[in-house]
């Protein structure tokens, strides 16, 4: 598939981009002005993170089997990992030891590149065992729809997705960059569109939602598209617009302006760097697309993560993606371990890539990136190791409730730490409990986003960073 690339545009095109964005909503357009931080609740890490990679373990992930493993068998029937590096305080699940990707000659090559089993990286990961949708509610929200809505927006039926909040919160920075003729990509959603909800004043800041093949399908056509046809493209739209009653012309006009604005992005969208499946050996930020594929793999989530790293190169502050399918009401006992083979490889490869990649603004991507994993809820087998179908379900109990979220990246102040605690026998929370809203606000804060309008009762928390 190819995309027609109009004439490359520079300054004029970027101005057009801003106009189109205002009409269309890829980024928010605002009059350039000076960025003035406001007096808002903030963490020690405010504005220290340039990128967030937010990964959803799809379908409801049984967190204790991986990230809060030091609990009873009824919560973690797969056991705990051994051979952990010193400085690891959180419960590492045995499933994180699985590393078939490191076996054989190909595995040795990956080891030579620095990849290791995830449990050996545990002292670089921090886990918050008790993240909840509603800490004050009597029970968990184990419903697929509303649980996911809370994950995306902070509330059941929330109107603004977290990634819309990111774009909205960074609107002034984006405008300032645009005034300096710098083109910054917005936050991208590579999974569920709910993360990009937006109503009212936030609608114009909804992130682009990209499904499937990413930018690999886009292609340059400078050499092939005839000049006479370029004029025809324009004339067809103009004639249609001009025929319409003036009162209904605006959507056509917006479309035409967006087409012009697209020209400004064409250089990025058509860039070989974003064609993460092209097998290129050309190093960008110190690593080639081929090497990224070798490290992170070619699963769906692997491609998305590779694309995320490349979108970061073009200034995108955050990428959201879905990984796996963990809604295993049946046969979890047999099938879940295999799912970890992909997840572990992604984590392991991501560590190497982040360490190795040089960030355009200095330091490594590890220094500038925060990675977090979440899910719509955890899972329960209602007091048994598995349900009657050898799987697990989700309801209102504590086992469903606590989403034990792992975080890593340069901004993390206490790698290897556990921030909070659950009692082994019944998962009673013994330490701090954080709402998803607080987690989101913490991430917004780390990005330096304006979050004054979001979640006023759920402050960001410092424990991740100090």
């Amino acid at each position: 598939m190819t995309v027609r690339k109009h004439r490359r545009t520079t300054k004029i095109g970027r101005r057009a981009l801003i106009r189109g964005a205002a009409a269309g909503s890829l980024i928010a357009a605002a009059a350039p002005h000076i960025w003035i931080p406001r007096g808002i609740a903030q963490t020690a890490a405010r504005d220290t993170v340039k990128h967030i990679l937010y990964i959803r373990l799809s379908g409801g992930f049984r967190f204790p089997v991986a990230f809060n493993a030091g609990v009873g068998d009824q919560f973690n029937p797969f056991g705990r990992a051994t051979g952990l590096p010193s400085g690891t305080d959180w419960g590492v699940g045995q499933l994180l030891m699985r590393a078939p990707y490191l076996e054989g000659d190909q595995g040795q090559a990956l080891r030579d590149m620095g990849m290791r089993p995830v449990h050996e990286l545990a002292n670089r990961i921090t886990v918050v065992p008790c993240v909840d949708h509603e800490p004050d509610a009597p029970g968990a929200d184990g419903n697929h729809g509303t649980g996911l809505e809370r994950y995306y927006t902070g509330y059941a039926d929330g109107g603004v997705g977290f990634f819309t909040m990111i774009n909205y919160g960074l609107r002034e920075k984006v405008a300032q960059a645009a005034a300096e003729e710098r083109l910054l990509l917005p936050a991208f959603v590579l999974g569920g569109a709910g993360m990009g909800r937006g109503v009212g004043p936030y609608a114009a800041h909804r992130p682009p939602v990209l499904s499937g093949s990413g930018f690999d399908a886009f292609g340059l056509q400078d050499d092939g598209f005839p000049t006479w046809a370029e004029a025809m493209v324009r004339h067809v739209d103009e004639r249609y617009r001009d025929r319409q009653h003036p009162a209904v012309r605006s959507p056509v006009q917006v479309y035409m302006e967006t087409r012009k604005a697209t020209e400004a992005y064409s250089e990025i969208f058509n860039s070989e760097t974003l064609k993460v499946a092209n097998g290129s050996n050309e190093a960008v930020d110190g690593i080639s697309n081929a090497e990224l594929e070798t490290l992170i793999g070619d699963s769906r989530a692997g491609r998305d993560i590779r694309l995320a790293l490349r979108l970061f190169h073009f200034g995108s502050p955050a990428v959201y993606l879905d990984q796996g399918g963990y809604d295993m009401h049946s046969n979890e006992e047999d099938n879940l371990p295999g799912q970890f083979d992909d997840l572990n490889r992604l984590i392991s490869g991501l560590f190497v890539a982040l360490d190795r990649m040089q960030h355009p603004s200095g330091g490594t991507y590890w220094d500038n990136t925060l990675v977090a994993f979440g899910s719509e809820f955890s899972r329960t087998a209602r007091g048994s190791r598995f349900n009657s179908a050898r799987g697990s379900d989700h309801n209102s109990d504590r086992s469903t409730r606590w989403m034990s979220m792992p975080f890593f990246g340069g901004a993390i102040g206490r790698p290897g730490a556990r921030i909070g605690e659950t009692r082994s026998g019944d998962l009673e929370a013994m330490g701090r409990v954080f709402s998803y809203r607080s987690v989101m606000k913490t991430m917004l804060d780390a990005l330096g986003a304006d979050h004054t309008e979001f979640f006023p009762a759920d402050p960001p928390f410092n424990e991740l960073f100090v």
């Binding site: 697929h144 569109a193 909800r197 093949s213 092939g224 046809a229 319409q244 009653h245 967006t258 809604d327």
Partner: protein, 591 residues
């Protein structure tokens, strides 16, 4: 309402045996729907035809246009004028006192524009010129709309719309229930179920109850769905008691080999020995809309106090549908149906300015036994809807010119596929996440194969889904659902897709076949000339836009024939960029 007593009883009797083997629990991959929708089995359509129809472009009363900036009051003369018009269409008749009667006028109907609009709204795809000519019967709009309402594509359009409204997602709700709800929607739009009957069944259908977590959430969803507003606190609390029985559980499907999320029931208002408990039955009783008890008592079908909803009898389903009957008894229920339909066809809010339209349409629908097809007929044959969106008017009132709307993603993609023959998969609104089903068992594979997904040797084909989801369609309905937007990414994606279809740069082995892009008598390898260029543009405009090429387009084609380089261009080298120009244009996106 007509119920069959036998279906659920058979299922109920078969289930204890069926759990042991698929012979007693038959599974039909072509028609897996099971649920309360099966019980609504009216065999006669609600109406064989509809009153009303088109109004014949009424004349406006004489007036001073300068005085019409605000809608004038319709005085006695105006009322007499409107009465004298004898307008049959309920939309037009109720509009008259704010339109023709006060001296405002509508735009004339443009045949191809109106037919194209009808085709998209009623059938879900852009027509070719030939299709327009056949479907719209020389401008006999009553016949045209009646014919389209009989078309299965009309039903399909609304099955997909209700998939969005009910947010079908097969990881959240049993696939059998989704198919049942889909068939229920089909019955509504085939005219075999009235809207109030439909609402009653949906109110206690697992696609709704299993989708939400608490009784209050279910009430809220029901209100939003059928009244277009959230419930007040007292309404929510009171009606929640009628949802007290419902739980979210699972059903181990013997044929699919999957544990399906499904609705179950508990018995909160009965004693330990299974009788209605006088001391707690208030928790299952609504009093806000009259005294309504919804209490089931357990029997042998319940295990550990919980019963799978698939074992409910017809009488029990009927009892559980009380919330829907309450909702449907309110005027707001019908008004919301009217508002939603008007918004669908017009793309703007008409009733806030002209509430008489809402009232007239509610009366019209009730006079047609609650038949949704009648509502669609009335709006689709109205002058307000059919009039042209082109040209200018002396005032800016929204209803004095025709609507212009953005096509849905599926309409856009399907039309490109159909008109060019481009090879692309499909997606199925009933099964947004087919992978787990396809991987579950042979029955699961059969189910996916029988669905609209393309299951190939390489797995489920995802090209259509990936494209549609990037553009906002084919939603997974986990959260959020469909979106319609014009953004840089969606526009770039559309341009990219059109480029892949048309292959304007003539890359080898790319794009749709050239035969669809040129008239049949043209050799694609011959050199282009002015006549051939004009013929190509005429052919593509007819195929893609459903009309004849206009003079400016034909002249541009002739000019481009000489501009095309390297000269002489071949017919194909000319036709492919033209294809790109037309298919990527706003005329393929807005209608």
């Amino acid at each position: 309402m007509k119920y069959s007593m036998f279906g659920p009883l058979l299922v109920a009797l078969a289930w204890p045996l069926g759990a042991c083997g698929s012979d007693a629990f038959p599974f039909n991959a072509d028609n897996p729907g099971r649920g309360p929708g099966e019980l609504l089995d009216n065999t006669q359509p609600l109406n064989s035809d509809y009153t009303g129809g088109t109004s014949g472009d009424p004349e406006a009363a004489a007036s001073d246009p300068a005085a019409l900036a605000a809608i004038p009051v319709c005085d006695a003369t105006c009322r007499d004028y409107c009465d004298g018009l004898s307008l049959n269409n309920p939309v037009d008749a109720s509009m008259c006192r704010a339109l023709w009667g006060v001296g405002l006028d509508t735009r004339p109907i443009d045949f191809h524009e109106a037919c194209r609009r009808l085709h998209v709204d009623l059938l879900g795809e852009f027509p070719t010129r030939g299709q327009s000519n056949r479907a719209c019967a020389d401008g006999d709009w009553d016949t045209a709309v009646s014919g389209m309402l009989q078309d299965e594509r009309f039903v399909r359009v609304h099955r997909r719309r209700w998939a969005d409204l009910l947010r079908y997602n097969n990881t959240a709700v049993s696939i059998e229930r989704i198919y049942d709800a889909d068939q229920l929607v089909a019955r509504l739009y085939l005219g075999y179920a009235s809207y109030d009957e439909f609402a009653a069944v949906v109110s206690a259908h697992p696609v709704l109850t299993r989708r939400y977590d608490t009784a209050g959430d279910r009430v809220e969803a029901l209100f939003e769905l059928f009244l277009g507003r959230p419930p007040y606190n007292n309404e929510r609390a009171d009606m929640a008691r009628l949802y007290a029985q419902w739980e979210n559980g699972y059903f181990d499907h013997p044929a699919l080999g999957m544990r399906l999320p499904d609705a179950t029931l508990r018995f909160p208002c009965v004693t330990d020995d299974g009788r209605v408990d006088p001391s707690t039955k208030g928790q299952c009783t609504s009093v806000l809309w009259g005294y309504k008890e919804v209490i089931l008592t357990p029997d042998y079908r319940a295990l550990e106090g919980e019963m799978w909803s698939g074992l409910l009898t017809a009488d029990e389903w009927h009892l559980l549908q009380e919330p829907g009957r309450i909702i449907a008894s309110q005027l707001g229920f019908w008004e919301h149906a009217v508002d939603r339909a008007l918004e669908y066809y017009l793309g703007y809010d008409l009733v806030t300015d002209i509430p008489a339209v809402r009232k007239a349409l509610v009366e019209y629908v009730l006079a047609h036994n609650g038949d949704m097809r009648a509502l669609h007929y009335a709006i689709a044959t109205s002058q307000i809807y059919l009039q042209s969106s082109a040209g200018e008017t002396e005032t800016e009132h929204r209803y004095t010119h025709g609507p212009l709307k953005q096509a849905t993603v599926e309409t856009w993609i399907d039309s490109l596929k159909k008109t060019t023959g481009y090879d692309l998969g499909r997606c199925d609104h009933r099964m947004p996440e087919p992978r787990d089903i396809a991987e579950s068992s042979p029955a699961g594979i059969a189910l996916v194969r029988a669905s609209e997904w393309d299951l190939t040797d390489n797995g489920i084909r995802r090209d259509y889904r990936d494209l549609a989801r990037t553009l906002g369609g084919c939603p997974d309905n986990n959260v959020g659902g469909r979106f319609t937007t014009v953004s840089i990414l969606t526009t770039a994606t559309q341009e990219s897709f059109v480029a892949s279809v048309c292959n304007p740069a003539l890359q080898q082995n790319r794009g749709a076949g050239v035969d669809a892009l040129i008239p049949g008598d043209l050799d694609p390898s011959r050199a282009i000339d002015a006549d051939a260029a004009e013929a190509i543009v005429e052919h593509q405009v007819r195929t893609f836009f459903g009309r004849r090429a206009r003079e400016a387009e034909r002249q541009e084609a002739r000019d481009n024939a000489t501009a095309c380089t390297p000269a002489p261009c071949s017919v194909e080298a000319f036709a492919r960029p033209v294809c790109y120009a037309l298919l990527s244009s706003s005329e393929m996106l807005f209608y």
